[in-house]
Symmetry: C2
Subunit: 214 residues, 2 copies
């Protein structure tokens, strides 16, 4: 497979972890979001939305949106499952994943940060307050659920890795990139550190990708 | 089933349409988001995130996050399918749904609107510029994809209703609620109007729910 990604992208990180956990060979092409490469015609022809990741599996059209890609990989490469078999457990995994991928991450992507600074004349530190508020809201929701719901185990859902963990880890890595305080989220921290100590997560980590600062 | 929802919620609308299309009986309890009922302890005990919809199916724990609920309903009530059988087509449906449910809708929910007005002293009309920008970005992405990708048919994916249409319709209805210009999105309009003329969509429509303005 071929993925168009970016070292810092939380969405690309999630997909990269799944590819590695499932043992799917892939190559990644770096899209420089800071330079605006996602808006160039060559990339808009791949994803008119101008967002990473975009994944090519053979000759088919590009696959976009990280959660849609995770489900596609699950359906086409089920041998290392990243969703439980039980519908209620699958729903809980997806719900936790969506707290990150729907309610939190879209609030701090480059296009929103740039819009806040451009349209509202916000200096960078005031814009970053918005980013940190988004992180805090999402992390608070995750902590409230993971620390009380009986489904939580070694990982977000029981003792097997799932899409929820991939999303959780992608959010956790962002707390370092965006300097977000994390003391209030011990359950999220425990699960994130459990995940990030494993080879697939380490190899997929933003810091280890092309384009990342040394 | 029992759903906790709100007349205006785009996420509750999506789930309501799926319940009606699949013929699943349900009752809905109105959560007054403007009055802050989602933050009361009684509702936080149901969903610590303080967001609708939350769906109870029998005695199990509440199901949350609209896309997770749609997948749960698909897995437990497959007889009126709202996802295609082919993995690539499923991925396209989910990707289009996520343009709405991940990249667009979370930017204009009450908690974000209130945060912008509170933390940044934005008057309502300046905050509404942020909302309209979010709609315009999402609608532009949908129009670019739906008007060019060969998968588009009578509906977002071919000639059968899918999760993509439920999300698209929920966004389209929001353009009226939030006074968003729509002339630039003829393909989105065509599909939305095709959907919204059907009984399940009409019965599930925000305007027809308890709590909606007369």
């Amino acid at each position: 497979m071929r993925m168009y990604g970016n070292w810092r992208s939380a969405a690309a990180f999630r997909v990269r972890i799944a590819l590695k956990l499932k043992g799917i060979p892939y190559e990644e092409t770096f899209i420089d979001l800071d330079a605006g490469d996602q808006h160039r015609p060559e990339f808009r022809a791949i994803n008119p939305q101008g967002a990473v990741p975009a994944l090519f599996d053979g000759e088919g059209p590009p696959l976009t949106q990280s959660l849609a890609i995770l489900d596609y990989l699950e359906e086409t490469h089920p041998s290392v499952p990243l969703l439980p078999a039980d519908p209620r457990e699958r729903a809980r995994v997806r719900s936790l994943a969506q707290v990150v991928a729907c309610d939190t991450h879209p609030l701090y992507v480059p296009r929103v940060r740039n819009h806040l600074m451009g349209a509202y004349d916000l200096p960078r530190d005031r814009m970053m307050d918005f980013v940190r508020h988004a992180f805090a809201t999402g992390l608070t929701a995750l902590e409230a659920r993971l620390s009380t719901e009986p489904g939580t185990g070694r990982y977000a859902q029981g003792d097997r890795l799932s899409h929820a963990d991939l999303c959780l880890a992608s959010l956790w890595v962002g707390t370092a990139i965006f300097d977000v305080p994390t003391d209030a989220y011990p359950t999220v921290r425990r699960i994130a550190e459990e995940c990030l100590s494993q080879p697939a997560f380490m190899e997929a980590h933003p810091k280890r990708q092309p384009g990342a600062p040394a």
